[in-house]
Each structure stands twice: as C-alpha cells, then as structure tokens.
Symmetry: C2
Subunit: 629 residues, 2 copies
Amino acid sequence: MDSIKTRLVQLEVHPGNPRLNTAAMLRHIAAAREEGVQLVVFPEMSVPGYLLGDEWEHPAFLHECEDCHEQLRAAARGITVIFGSVGLDWTRRNEDGRVRKYNALFVADDGQWAGPPGGPYPFVIKTLLPNYREFDDSRHFFDLRKLAYEEQVPVENLLKPVDTRLGKLGCSLCEDAWDNDYALSPLLVLAQQHPALFVNISSSPFTMHKNHKRNRVFSALASRLRRPLVFVNNVGVQNVGKTVFVFDGSSCVYNGCGQRVACSSAFRETALTCEIPLGGRPFGSPVELSHDDISTMYTALAYGTRKFMELCGVRRVVVGISGGIDSSVVAAVYRQLLPGSDLLLVNMPSRYNSPTTRSLAKQLATNLGACYVEISIEDSVSLTRSQIDGLVVRTVDGRSPQRLSLTPFMLENVQARDRSSRILAALAAAFEGVFTCNANKSEATVGYGTLYGDIAGYFANLADVWKTEIYELARHLNEHVYGAEVIPQGCLTVTPSAELSPSQNVDEGKGDPLHYPYHDLLFKSWVEWWDRATPQEILEWYAAGCLEEKLGFHGHVANLFPTAGEFIADLERWWNLYKGMGLAKRLQAPPVLALKRRAFGFDHRESQMGPHYTKKYEELKAQLLRKAN
Amino acid sequence: MDSIKTRLVQLEVHPGNPRLNTAAMLRHIAAAREEGVQLVVFPEMSVPGYLLGDEWEHPAFLHECEDCHEQLRAAARGITVIFGSVGLDWTRRNEDGRVRKYNALFVADDGQWAGPPGGPYPFVIKTLLPNYREFDDSRHFFDLRKLAYEEQVPVENLLKPVDTRLGKLGCSLCEDAWDNDYALSPLLVLAQQHPALFVNISSSPFTMHKNHKRNRVFSALASRLRRPLVFVNNVGVQNVGKTVFVFDGSSCVYNGCGQRVACSSAFRETALTCEIPLGGRPFGSPVELSHDDISTMYTALAYGTRKFMELCGVRRVVVGISGGIDSSVVAAVYRQLLPGSDLLLVNMPSRYNSPTTRSLAKQLATNLGACYVEISIEDSVSLTRSQIDGLVVRTVDGRSPQRLSLTPFMLENVQARDRSSRILAALAAAFEGVFTCNANKSEATVGYGTLYGDIAGYFANLADVWKTEIYELARHLNEHVYGAEVIPQGCLTVTPSAELSPSQNVDEGKGDPLHYPYHDLLFKSWVEWWDRATPQEILEWYAAGCLEEKLGFHGHVANLFPTAGEFIADLERWWNLYKGMGLAKRLQAPPVLALKRRAFGFDHRESQMGPHYTKKYEELKAQLLRKAN
C-alpha cells in the first residue's frame, strides 16, 4: 500500500454518555465508508469520555461501554476504525481491588478486532499514565508497565504495532508521546518494528500555549521516527467537578520530516481527510501554527462557556453588573452566546456606588441590548444592620450577655451577600436561569471577595484570568468581537473598586488594595509557574535586587514599597490570604473554567493548613528588617 | 539481642508544618532516651504531614524537610529512631518532570542513617502507592517498582530489611502491608531475609470499621511472618480541601502469633512503650478490639471537629437551630467543645415555623446553657418578595418586557438564603466566630437544601452521617455524653421538615419528601457500597423482588410505592438530583468531615455530566411499565 486515505474525526465527546458518543461515531464511520476513506481515527476515550470522576467504578456503565465497542466493531466493515475507550478484563483486578481497566485504543479492522501480536488483549494499552494537574489516570487505569511485571515479560514484548489490512500501525495514547520524563519511550520501542504510520489518540484539554509545546514534541517525534504521525484530539468540555476543561481538538498530521501538513480547526467537531503516503518521504506543505494570544483565550472562553451551559442545560443568564471591568466582560461574553431577551443585567446600587459606575452599567446594558434592571440593596442592608448591630445575646437564663456590633468591614460583606444571595439568586430563579460569578484569578488567589457574595454563582468563567488580562479581553471584545465600543471606555479607565465603603470611592480614585500590574505577576509566580515561588524565593530575589526581573515586572518594587518592612508586610498579607481565607473561599466557590496552567480546583490541589514560612525565610526577613533599622 | 524496648509514638502530625512536628519529635526522642528506650517509631510522613495537596511542588518546603531530617538524625545518639518523611533525590526527576520524591521511611541508628543494604538511598521507599479514595500517592511519589525498572534490577533487590544496632528490621510503609490486590507482597519479600521485627509506619485516616479490617490484615501478616509487627499511625486532622480526615492512631503491637498484645488509645497523642521479645515466640496477652459503633462515630466526630477548629483558628461558633434533629446534634456536639459563652444558638423563624419547633429550639438552648437569640426573617423575605415578584424587566430601549414571579418553591429558597447568607453570616462576623453547616449525608447526596442557604457554613461536620444515624447520635449524646436529655425528646419525634411552606407543617405531620429508613439505604448503595449500585441494579433487584434484602431494608418497598411507575419515578427523581443539582450544590458546599467510606468531596470524586441510564435500565423500565398497564 502506497498511501492511506485517513480521516481524523475530531469528535465532540459527551462525558459519561457512551450511547450518544457511539451514535455520532457510527454516523462518521458510515459517511467515511461512503467517501472511500480507509482509516478513521477517533480520539482517546471517545466512547465513555475521559474526565468522569469515579464513574469508572460502576460496572453497569462499563458493560454499556463494551456494548458500544461491539457496535463499532460491527460497523467497521470494509474500513479500519481506531478509537479510544476503556479496555476491560473482568477476570483480573486493579490495585484498588476493582475490575481491571485500561485506558485503551481499539482497532476495528474490517469488522475484526486487531491488537498487538502476541499480547493478552485485542486492544492497545496506554503505557504512560499522567498523574499531574487534572489527571488521575493511575486512580482508574492499570498501565502497561504493571502488566509486564504481572506477566513477567519485558515491557517491550507488549509494545508492538498493530497489524491491519492497511499495514502496521504504531498506535499510542496521548501521554505515550510525551515521554520526556519517563524511563521508557513507547514510540521509540514501536519504531523498532517499523510501522508504516504512527497514530496518537488524545483527550488533551486546552491550555494557553500548550499547542505550541505539543507541536514541538510531535514534530520532533515524527522526524525522529521518519514516519507520518496522526494526532487526533477531541473537542467539547469535560470537568473534574470544581474545574471545567475545554478541549480544542487541533488534530493534525505530521509527515515523516516532522512537518505539520494538515490540521483541523480548533474548538469544533470536524472530520479532516488526508491521503497519507506511507514511508518516510516528505508530503504536503507545512501549515503554520500561530501563537496563542488574547484572541485564542477569548475563543476558548466563549466556547467553554457555551459548552458548559449546554452541559448544565442553562438557557437564561443573570449577570450582576457594577460598571466595573470584570462584570462588563462577563456580560459581553454571554451576549455573544444568548439573545438579549435571555440575558438579564442587574445593577444593585447602595449609597456607596458612584454615579460614574451606575451610569457605566446602564450604558453597557444599552450597548449590549440585554434586559436591564436596577434593584437597590439599601433597605435590606439597613434592616440587617438594625437586626444585628447592637444586639445583645445571652444564655436563656441571662448569663454571658454580649453586645454585638457590625463593623464597617462587616457591613461591606453584608452588602456583597445581599446582592448575590438575596437579589441575584432570587432574580435568577424568577428569570428561570442562573447567575454568574464574575471573579477573576487575582481575586480568587487571595480571596478578595465575599463568600455567598460576589464569589457565588453557577460558574466562574473568568476565574482563571488575571485582572490585567481582563482588560485585554475587554479591548479584544470591543475591537474584534463586537467591532464597536460595547464595553464603555469608562469601564476600562475607572479605578478598580468594590465600592462597598467611603474608602473605595472611585470618583476620588480610591479602590482595590491590589496594584494589579505587580500583584498579578507575584500571584502568578506562586500559582502558575512550573517552579512555584514561595515567600522564601520572593524575599531572596528582593534582597538580591532582581525581583522585577524574575517576575517580569516593568515597574520598580521600591516605588510601591519604600521600605523592606512594607514590602514584607505586603508579601505576608497576600500569602496568608492565599493559603488561608482565600483557600477557604475557593473551596466553596463555583466551578472554574480552566484556560491556563494550574486553574484553581482540581488542577491545583490544595489542603487547608495555613501559611508556611521556612526557617530560611524567617532568617532572611529578620536580617532585612535589622538592616532597615 | 533478646528483646527491644520499643516506643510507639502516636504523634499528632500538623500538616505542612515540618518544624513544629520535628520539635515534638525531638522532645519524644529526648524523653525516650532518658527512659532507656532503644527504638522509637514515629508515623508515616510525620515530618511534613501527608495530605498536603500540591505543597509537594515547593522546593523550599522540601529543603526545610531535609533540614529537619538532619536534626532528627543528630538527635538519635545512642538510640534508634524510625520516622516517615519525604525522601528526595535532587539529581533525578519524577514522571511529571519535578524533583524525585519518595514516600520514605528513615532509620537514624545512633546518629547514622541506616538504609536497605546495597540500595541507592539511605532510606526505605514505599513500594505500594495507594491511588484510591482520598489518596493521590502516585501524583507526588515515585514508587519502588518504577525505581527497579529504572535501575534495571528486580524489585526484590531493593526490598531488604535495614541492618541496625538492634538487629534486622523489616520496615514498610502503610499500603505495603495491604498487598491483597497487588502482584507483589513487600512484607513477604522482606521475610525472606529474616528480620527480627517488622515495623509498619502509617498515616491512615479513620473510617468506621476500618480498624477491624486492619486488625485482620495485620494479624494475619504477623502470624504468617512469625515475627512481631509494630504498627504506628498518627493522630490529628489533615485534609484534601473539600474533605477533612481524622486520624485515630490506634497504634499497636502484634506478636509473632498474630495476637494484638498492646495498643494505644485512639484519637490522642500517646507514647506506648513495649518490651518486644525477638523471634517468633508468643508474648503478651491479646487485647480485645471492640467493634466500631455509634460511640466511636461520636468520638471521631467530636475529635475531628475540635481539631479542625484548631487548624482554622476557630474559637467561637454560631449554630442556626430550627428545633429539628440535625441542628440540635450539631449544637450539642459544639457545646462539648466550647463554653456556653462562645457558642451562640440562633432561631430564625418565619411564618411557617411551628410553635412546636420554636419552643424545642429554645429548650435546647436552655439545656445546653449556650447563648441564644431569636431573629425573624419575615421582614426581609417580604422585602425580597416586593422587590422581585411582579418585577418587569426589559432592555433599556424597552424591548423584551418580561414579568417575573417568585413561585412558592422559589420563596422557600429565599427564606433559607436569608437565614444563612444574611443573618448567620453577619451574626457570626459580629460574634467573632463562624457559623456551621448542619447538612447530613442524606441531604448532601440529593442536594435537599438551598445553596447559600442551609448548605452554607464553615464546616459540615455531619455531612458524612445519614439522617437515620443522626438520631442515633442524638440518643448517644443524651444518654452517654451528657447523661441528661439535653436534646429534647421532641426533636427526635417531630416530623423531619424544612418548615418553609404550608406543605411542610410539622404539626400536621407534613415534612421532608424522603422516607429516610428506605432512602438512606438506597443512597448508601449508590455512594458507600464497594460495588456501587446504579439504577440498573436497583431496578433489577426490584423486578426480582429482592430489593429489600439487597438494601437491608426492613420495610416493604411496595408499601411506599404501590406501583412500578411510582417506584421508578422516585428512583429517577433522586438519581437525577444526585447526579445533577445535588452535585452542583456539593461543589460549592463546605468541607465535609469524613467518617465513613466515600465522603463527599475528594474521597468520592465527581464530574458534572448529568444522570446516566444504561440501555439495559431503559429496557427493563419499559418492560415493567408495560406489565403494569
């Protein structure tokens, strides 16, 4: 065979719904056969979905998957079909005592299963199981290395290409190609058997800049293997409860020189057909891969939000809008997904909200053509104050009398909770919809927000976006998505403020205690960096005078914090919140849409145990403070 | 050597605080040396703590642990000390590309590290890594089997007893002894080298009935190995964010006949000293292990709550009390932990609360001698209703006018949110404390509660306890903890009800839509059973007439649901909620205290993807409904 007419089906996978996914796959197979396609490739875990939590523990679900496999095999008459699903061995157990499950690749070759020759199963087993970020593969799946140990054979004996009517196919699953940190390279082992074509099926969530890295990895692999390599990834959203992942697909074909010669559009279900000449000779011409930028982030954000709404059955949305930038961006994104009659924007002023922001809110609603209403929280806040401030509590027999008072800080939280838990929640119910959480990642990191207040909502689609990036999104929405100033310029220029007290008066330039251009970078170093910074590293860099360079901050830290004492107080203030109340709030916050590395929830796992400062930190701090005196 | 004077230090481990833990360990070592102890054994991960989330990714934290190890080694002059901590190899990487970390056991033998002879490290590496329930060992730690593959030697070469001044010690970590489902038994491999004594250090959270299972496993091991076995476990609480685990310790010594001859009190830091004769001959007399019962559950509940309060720095608590059973039990538990002046009980009546429950609430507060106050929600609920019911919303230019209405169901949720997010949150702030979430596991399973309403709170210490068990706890509190009827009998006999509408009038015997004796067992089969039931199994058992037997239900399902249609409607109603809104609510619910198998949060991991019904279920349902017609 000189070439294979191959179709990469970038399926929208519906997690936990094998029959729905299988029905779509059967339609794709029928269409492909009709069009003379020889090889159809579906993504990893395309039958069951991938991020299913502990659904894998339901035998009834697993049996249903097996029934679907049989339907797919039977449908693959006269064609070769590759798909990912759960491979089962009901006679063996996983190390948790449950039925043996593999993350597997199935090859249905003209109605027959084809597996690696001499192996124990008619499917290919994932060799390398990721256990980082959102991945928990070892929780549910047995890997090929453990199987080799159990069978008392070298791993290499089980790692063989699959013989099909089309030739030898070097089949692998996702992580198998990301072998940099493993003692074993599955694709290089397969290469020793000279497959005609490599296939990698994946279920790999979108992360900003990940496609570029993947391209480097796969391109290098293909040129090293000197064979074409087909990469098929799914689209849609899947979640691990607290964190919602969007899948961009970006399926593509590499020729044996490592050139990316065909690729699918991101973020939609597609079927890309490609005549792939076998052997190592070059074919096709390289397709450029553009760098991810704010436009990519917006696309992922809008797609992820739309798909999550579909998953939850959400058709109508209420957004509390303050006239600030975060809620404006949220409203503008939803207006792209909903008609104006299904989107209700609400401004909920108190005495502290300036005419500036109130009028910006109304202008935004006008520009977006969404429903709009103003509801005051003044009366309710006064009522709460009158019920609690000055209240004397005591035991029933009159002991331990204590007079309670609501401080101004407490009244700020009273206002925030009144807006969300009293107004927005009731309004969303009456509007037959949900209300959104407009928190950004800067706020989420340090818990700058009120629990059951602005932290509440059905979904936090901006909670993986730093405040400084929210401004970029706003400009992108105006300039490229709407092509008009729907988000009023004033929302971009007004001082960021919660407007909950006289000390947060935007007309006097007062607002948030965060200097976002600096704090965003500081927080990013704690959360998103590969080598996460802690106060120790930050203080070491500060002492060495290289903090700005390390963080990539274009200002001068000394301008923000004239003394070491002030610098350290700020550092500890936010670190304490990040590890303390910020975390306590995140645990009760809505699901987050993950767009970047280490989204809160399940991508970045946290334990409540308070802030930790190393001895080295304490010593350096003492030294810096001594010097200052 | 004939015998070893051994001390089992059942340490209270403070997660993420190596210096604090090390300071306590140094004190124990000094005391032990003074008392002529030869061998001191601390638990697994006693230096860093165990459930730390992704704190393992901080190099500064890891370096601090290493500094602590050196202090412990230096302190072990003239004595042998075993402890668990993270073993590091800064020259190698884990499979996620981060620094190589092992879950390790260190032996400091008269000031020198002692490791397995011929191995690459001066510490013992955990061979079997658990990846089920709350455990994520493979996320952070490299296991001995992977190391053997990397070093290209058989695992057995790396699994050797440690030679110490006291003789050969067969050292293992926690899961190494739970080898039933693994292809390798580390302790049997160690036994081939004839150690004088086996030591297993653990960090094993409490789960009802787990000690009995552990005793079977360890007793069988010791008698098979014909050698004494020392088991040391920690106390305290550690958490994985959404789920808080309590550690009971229950450290003990088995003789070579498998008899448990000494054991530490559960739930407190202890140092148990035991002269252990070496070799297989029997010594000591068996100590009976009592079965876990409601008294054990109460002890774990009270201890876990107290330790979690310490972890969070909570000193004052507000409990909303309705006069019902759940909030009464919560209040009675906290009164054991706090003086009456630091515990504020609040009754928040609306027009729907009966004089019965209001007077029960007050009676409870009187009996407990806690502070008490009544705050009405009537005015605020009326205000919310007047602001939203009948409100017309439209676009700013007048299009899409829509009149909103608040249905009676929506008003139920308005009341619940008013109580928690408006009153309790403000009251807790003014009282300088927190407020509790009183939800039980029955409600948590199906989301029978209001988000930002009764689901809110700083901690849900009853959310792993079924409603039927809450009654047992109430009786236990009265009869054994207080020795007086502090929880009024009326709280136990009143119809369980949310009292949010006329349809929930307890004085007319109306209340919750759940028949707890049946639904608790049904939900338990979905959540807690090892082989989790799904609607398919439930319906199969129903059709076969064996559902009562399978669930252990002592009533007749036919009395509750006279027809198949009614049975199926009830089944689907709750399954849909469990997988739908119930889950959405759990994601924003407070941390749960885990007491049993599969507590919500991180022990039972969930993905939002809606309810799934298999084809087999659909077919059986159709058949049953046809038959009924």
